[in-house]
């Protein structure tokens, strides 16, 4: 296209709403308009009005009558026509062209600024939600009454236990109940739940905490343990998840903002629907690093209060770690965070602060239990339930306490 000629969208000839493509040649004394269909018109510069228009406010609008009388409305894109007019155009249009150049510059700047403000607004909303979501979940969880939480937990237990045989007697049930009853001495007074444990005959190597005071344990886990104290440690850990409402928090976090806000504003119906729909997937729910650390730390406190040797608790993890990935991956207590080493170190540090104590053995013949459950013969099974003496770091073991 020759210099001084610009493509434009032409309204005017015939139907005033219909546009036709054309080219506008800007010369000093007149504007020459040539439509793509071959028609041409001359617009004297004296009648020309320049303005900004178009959806983005950046089109250059050239309006004016042709010598033949038709009135034209031309939309030109780009700033070149204005730059040409500002320097080489007729005197009466130069000033207007310069003003429109400035106006276009400020329109573009304003557009960029508003876009950045919008992005900033989005980022602030996202950050606020990210930072505030945990706080909202805490508030929502605090508003769920324990009775409702227990009912929701029952739905979860039914979902996960569906199709599995619950054991209400026999060696596995008796062993778990013996450990469970010992742990009750360490449960803080005034906690709001009626704590319940369920034992399932299932190969899953797992123990689970469900909302509202429910703990589930599977015989697959019992077969992998080497002592009642290891089970006590795992159940204490799951109990602390329950008492700290971690399962409900986890479900809420997975359910999303709508459910959390609904609960805060008094409608727990959506939460019930979510739990009914997805309760069976609680085994796939992973807790946060902080929640796992908190459950570990408080589990040790619970074991100490119940006079159960807490140092046996990490043995199962160590054995599991040494075996690599040969265990089923579903064990939530071994969820990958915190890592095994970090977790073991934290527990060992905690053990070093404990006073030297002779712990009361739980008294279960675990190898016999494993045999009864049909587990392969144990290779590394230690004493059934030894009375462990844990000295503080750098101290000798104390004299045995009288039973």
């Amino acid at each position: 296209m020759p210099a001084g000629t610009f493509r434009c969208d032409v309204f005017g000839p015939g139907d005033p709403g219909q546009s036709s493509p054309g080219s506008l040649e800007v010369v000093y004394e007149a504007f020459r308009l040539t439509l793509d269909d071959g028609r041409s018109f001359t617009l004297p510069t004296g009648g020309i009005k320049l303005s900004r228009g178009g959806f983005d406010g950046l089109h250059v609008i050239v309006e004016g009558p042709a010598e033949t009388g038709e009135r034209f409305y031309l939309s030109v894109q780009g700033e070149l026509v204005l730059e040409h007019l500002a320097h080489l155009g007729p005197a009466e249009l130069r000033l207007a062209a310069r003003d429109l150049l400035k106006q276009g510059s400020s329109t573009r700047t304003w557009g960029q600024v508003s876009f950045l403000v919008f992005l900033g607004f989005l980022a602030a909303c996202g950050l606020g939600l990210w930072l505030g979501f945990g706080w909202l979940v805490e508030r929502a969880v605090g508003l769920v009454p324990p009775a409702l939480e227990t009912s929701l937990g029952e739905i979860v237990v039914q979902s996960i236990g569906s199709g599995k045989k619950e054991l209400k007697q026999g060696p596995a049930h008796e062993a778990v109940m013996k450990v469970w009853n010992r742990l009750q001495a360490g449960i803080p007074a005034g906690q709001p739940y009626t704590l319940k444990i369920y034992v399932y005959d299932d190969p899953m190597v797992n123990a689970l905490a469900a909302p509202g005071g429910h703990v589930m344990v599977f015989t697959g886990l019992l077969k992998e343990l080497d002592s009642a104290e290891e089970l006590a440690g795992i159940l204490a850990h799951e109990l602390q998840h329950v008492l700290k409402k971690h399962p409900l928090k986890g479900i809420m976090q997975s359910a999303g903002l709508a459910v959390v806000l609904g609960t805060i504003f008094g409608d727990a119906g959506a939460l019930a629907v979510v739990i009914r729909e997805y309760g069976g997937k609680l085994a796939e729910l992973s807790y946060s690093r902080d929640q796992e650390r908190e459950a570990d730390r408080l589990a040790v406190d619970l074991l100490v209060k119940a006079d159960i040797d807490p140092t046996r608790f990490p043995e199962f993890f160590r054995r599991l770690h040494a075996k690599g990935n040969s265990f089923p991956a579903a064990l939530s207590i071994l969820s990958t965070h915190p890592g095994h080493e970090e977790r073991d170190e934290a527990l060992q540090a905690r053990f070093r602060t404990l006073p030297a104590t002779r712990w009361e053995p739980i008294g279960i013949d675990w190898p016999a239990l494993k045999t009864a459950l049909g587990a392969p013969a144990a290779v590394t099974a230690g004493p059934a339930s030894p009375a462990a003496i844990v000295p503080p770091a750098g101290q000798k073991p104390p004299a045995e306490r009288e039973p």
């Binding site: 709403g17 219909q18 546009s19 493509p21 959806f55 939309s75």
Partner: protein, 227 residues
């Protein structure tokens, strides 16, 4: 690009006859049926940044379909994902159009489609979203609507009122403002219209006969709230 609108109305589709080696682009997933001479490929249009911008800001796919008549002439049938009509507009290199997000169905390969902001308040209140699509270049463009589609043509300075969420496309020369349907807030809300778009000519405006948001509200009442 030779085309024919098939089954116009609520379930329209467009049949495009491609000459040998002719190339066109279409919305991802729009292909209904095609001649075996045609190859369909995914294309990141406008570079990865442009495609991501378009996808994130307007909800369109990152990819377009590229349809090429590699082994000789052939036809392809394209349809939008929602019930609605299809219409066609021509770009001559001097004009351009704005489309509400997700209105693009298909077009000549030479068309440029980009996401542009329409400003914070207009985006918030118009019902068309914060970002819309700008289509420029030279060639044929096919758009789709929710419900049927209707075009009005405005002379320079001519104004028209369109309910928000009904705008589908408009010429680049058309501007619009969002305003109350009535002079007072009470009658604006009481009339059931609330906010409307006042469009200003010159140019063409296409609007759709159904409001997707209102349809969504209507259908939600039939969805059980509990499983």
């Amino acid at each position: 690009m030779k085309y024919q609108i098939m089954q116009p109305g609520s379930y329209a589709m467009i049949k495009v006859d491609l000459a040998a080696n002719e190339v066109m682009k279409a919305e991802s997933g729009a292909m209904v049926a095609m001649h075996p001479n045609i190859d369909v490929e995914a294309k990141v249009d406008g570079g990865m940044f442009g495609a991501l911008k378009r996808a994130v800001l307007t909800g369109e796919s990152v990819f377009f379909q590229t349809l090429k008549a590699t082994r000789g002439p052939g036809e392809v049938y394209l349809a939008p994902g929602v019930p609605g009509d299809v219409t066609v507009m021509e770009l001559n290199g001097a004009n351009h159009f704005f489309l509400q997000k997700q209105a693009f169905l298909a077009g000549d390969d030479g068309l440029t489609i980009e996401a542009v902001s329409q400003g914070f308040f207009k985006g918030l209140l118009s019902g068309e979203g914060m970002f819309i699509q700008k289509v420029s270049g030279k060639g044929t463009l096919a758009i789709s609507s929710f419900g049927a589609i209707h075009k009005i043509t405005l002379a320079p300075g001519q104004q028209y009122i369109v309910d928000n969420s009904h705008l589908v496309a408009w010429s680049g020369t058309v501007t619009y403002d969002v305003q109350k349907a009535s002079s007072g807030w009470f009658s604006s809300i009481g009339s059931g219209e609330g906010l409307v778009c006042k469009v200003n000519g010159p140019g063409d405006v296409w609007f759709q006969t159904r409001n997707p948001g209102a349809f969504g509200s209507w259908i939600r009442q039939f969805i059980p709230s509990k499983g």
